[in-house]
Amino acid sequence: MITSNEAIVAETYPLEAQQTGLQPISERLHEWVTTVDHKRLGILYICLGLLFLVLGGIEALIIRIQLAVPHSTFVSPQVFNRMFTMHGTTMIFFVAMPILLGFGTYLIPLMIGARDMAFPRLNAFSFWITAFAGFLLYFSFVGGGGLYGAGSAPDVGWFAYAPLTSRAFSQGHSTDFWTLSLLLSGIGSIGTGINFVATIVCMRCPGMTLGKMPLFAWLNLVLGGMVILAISPLTAAQIMLCIDRYLGGHFFDTQAGGSAVLWMHFFWIFGHPEVYILIIPCFAFASEIIPVFSRKPIFGYPVMVAATVCIGFVSFSVWAHHMFTVGMVSYANSFFTLATMLVGVPTGIKIFNWIGTMWGGKLIFKAPMLFCIGFLFQFLVAGLTGIMLAASPFDWQLGNSYFVVAHFHYVIVGGILFTIFAAFYYYFPKMTGRRYSEKLAQWHFWLFLLGFHLTFDFMHIPGLLGMPRRIYTYEPGRGWEHWNLIVSLGALFQVAGVLVFVFNLSWSYFTGAHAGRDPWDAWTLEWSTDSPPPSYNFAEIPTVRSRRPLWDQKHPEDPDWHYE
C-alpha cells in the first residue's frame, strides 16, 4: 500500500516527477484545458468564480460609491444601471453557481467512494461553456453597441423584465449579451445537474445506501434535481425573448396583446428555486463542517434529508412572492403568502438541527466553524426578514425597496458567501495538501463580519423609509443619506477581509505546512485519501457500513453502525 504523498504524485504525474517539477507551461496548460478529472474541473470552476467575484465586487464598489451621498455624479445613470445589472448577473451566475457547483464536482465522487463523475466529458463541457458564457457577458462592455454609444453592458436589471427588454426599449445588443450568455451558462448548469444526479444515484461505493451517504451528497442530489427543473424554464423564456427580439415574435410584446407579467412568471419560476439552488450547497457545507467542529454527528440526519427534499419541492410553489405588487387577485396573493411562509418551516428546522448538533459538543472555533456560526446567525435573520416579505401587504411597502436588497444580500453574502468561505478553509488542505494560516483567517473573519454588518444591517433602514432599489441617486432630505454612507463604508471592510483571504490562500499554497490526509479529524471518505487526492481518488474502492466510515475506523470499539 502506497503511503507517501510524493510517491503517489510521482505515480500519477510521471512527467512531473521526472523533470523535478519543471514541466513545460504548454504541457501543463494542455493538461488543464483537456482535463476531464472532476477534481481539476472543480478547481477550474472555483477559480472562475473567484475571478468573477473580483469583477462583481468592483461593480458593487462603484454602486456604493455613487450612492454614498445624494445627487452624486460619480457615474452617469447609464453606467450605474449597467453596474447593478452586471453585478447581479455576475454574482449569481458566474460567482455563486460556479463556486458551488465546483465544490460539488470536486467533492461528490470523493465522498461517495467513486473515481469520477458519471459523465466526465459532459463535466468538462459544462465548465467550458460556463466560462465562455462569462466572457461573453463581459465582452458586452466592448461589443454592446446601441443608442448610448460604443460598448454597453446590459442595463435591464438581472431579471430583465419585459417590455424593457424589447427592441423598442432596449436598442443595440446589450440585452442580447445578457440573454445569450445566460442561455449558455444555463446549459452548462443543467449538464452539471444531470452529472450530480447520475453520479449520486449510480456510483456510490458498496454499502453506501442512500441513507448512509453524507448529507453533502443528499443535498447535492436534491440540488441536481432542482437545477434540472428550474433552469430549464429560464432557458425557455430566453428563447422566447430571442424570438421576440429577432424573429418579430410577440411573447412579451404588450403592443400586440402580449403580457409583461408572463415574463415575470416564467422568470421567477426559475428565479425562486434558483435561490434555493444557491443556498442548498451551503447547507451542505454547514452540515459537514459543524459536526466535525462540534465533535458530534449531525443531529437528526433523516429529518435533515426530509427537510431538504421538502424545500426542494415547496420552493417551486412560491415564485409569485416576487410579484405581490403586480396586481394579482387577493386569493393568489394569499396562496403565495402561505406557501412562502411554509417553506420557512423546513428551513427553520435545519437551523434547529445545526444548533442541536452543537449542543453538548466540544466546539472548536477554527475558521471553518467561525464562518459557519456567522452563517447561522445571519441566515436566521435573513429568514426572518423573508417572513416579513412573505406577508404580502408588508411586501407592498417593502418590495422593490432597499429592504429587499438588504434581505437578499443577507442571504447571499451573510449565508452563502460565509459558508463558501468556511468551505474554502475546510477543504483547502485537502485540495492543495497545505495548511492555511489560521491567524490570517481569523483576521479575514472579523474584518469581513464587521463590514458585512455595517453594510447590510443598516441597509434595511432606507428601505423602511421608502428608498426604492435600482436608483442611481436619491433626493436629500428623505432621511436616507446617513444610512447610505454607513452602508458604503462597510464595503471597505469587506474588501479588506477578502484581500486578506486571497492573500492567505495564495501565500499558503506555496508556503503552508503539509496538511496530511485528515487535518480536521473528520469522518467521511474524502479524508481517507491523500491531500491532494491522486487522479484515481482511491487505491481500492471502499466499502462502508455507516454514515461515518472513518469514525468506525477510528473507534472500532464503538462504531456508528451499532446505532444507525
Binding site: G225, A236, I239, H250, F251, G257, S259
Partner: protein, 198 residues
Amino acid sequence: MSNTTTETVDLVLSWRLPSRGRVGMICFIAAEAAVFTIFVVAYLFYAGKSISGPTPREVLHLPIFMSACLIVSSFTIHAAVKALAGARTVWFNVWWFATLILGLAFLAGTVHEWTILIRHEGLTISTNLFGTTYFSLVGLHAFHVTVGLLVIAVTACASLASAVSQTHAERLDILALYWHFVDGVWLVVFTVVYVLGV
C-alpha cells in the same frame, strides 16, 4: 473500511445501482419536459388573445397522418431495440430504418403544413400571438425530432457498416427513451394546439 470478511465480499458482489446512461437520459428528458411545459403554458395563456390575424380555427387541420407516423415510430423503435437485444440484426435493421422513415414522414408533414400556413394563410411567427406561440411550440418539437433523427441516421449508417451489435442494445434502448419522450410531447402538442386550442 475495506476488509476481507465474506460479508464485505458479498456486499461488493451484490451491489447493484441503476445504469448511469439511463439515469442521465431521464434527467435530460426532465429538463426538456420543463422547457416544453413553459412553451405549452405560453400557448394556452395566449389562446384566443390574438388581436388580429388568422386564428387556429381558420387555418389548422388535424395532422392525423403525421401523428400516426410518429406514434407508430415509437413502436418500431421499441421493436428494433428488442430485436437487437436478441441479436436478431436483420430485424433490427428493418425496424430501425422504418423508424427513420416514419420520422422523416413526420417532418415532411410539418414542412408541408408550414408551407401552407406561411405562403397561403399568411401566418408567420411575427403575425400575431397565435403565430408566435404556434411556430415556437411546434418548431421546438420539430427541432427535437430532427436531432433525434440525426442520431438515428448516424446509427443507421453505423449499422450499414456492420458496427452495431447486441452489446449496443442497452445504449440504443436509452436513445429510444428520448424518442418516446419526443412522441409523448407530440401527444401533448397535438391535444393543446389542434384539439383544445381550436
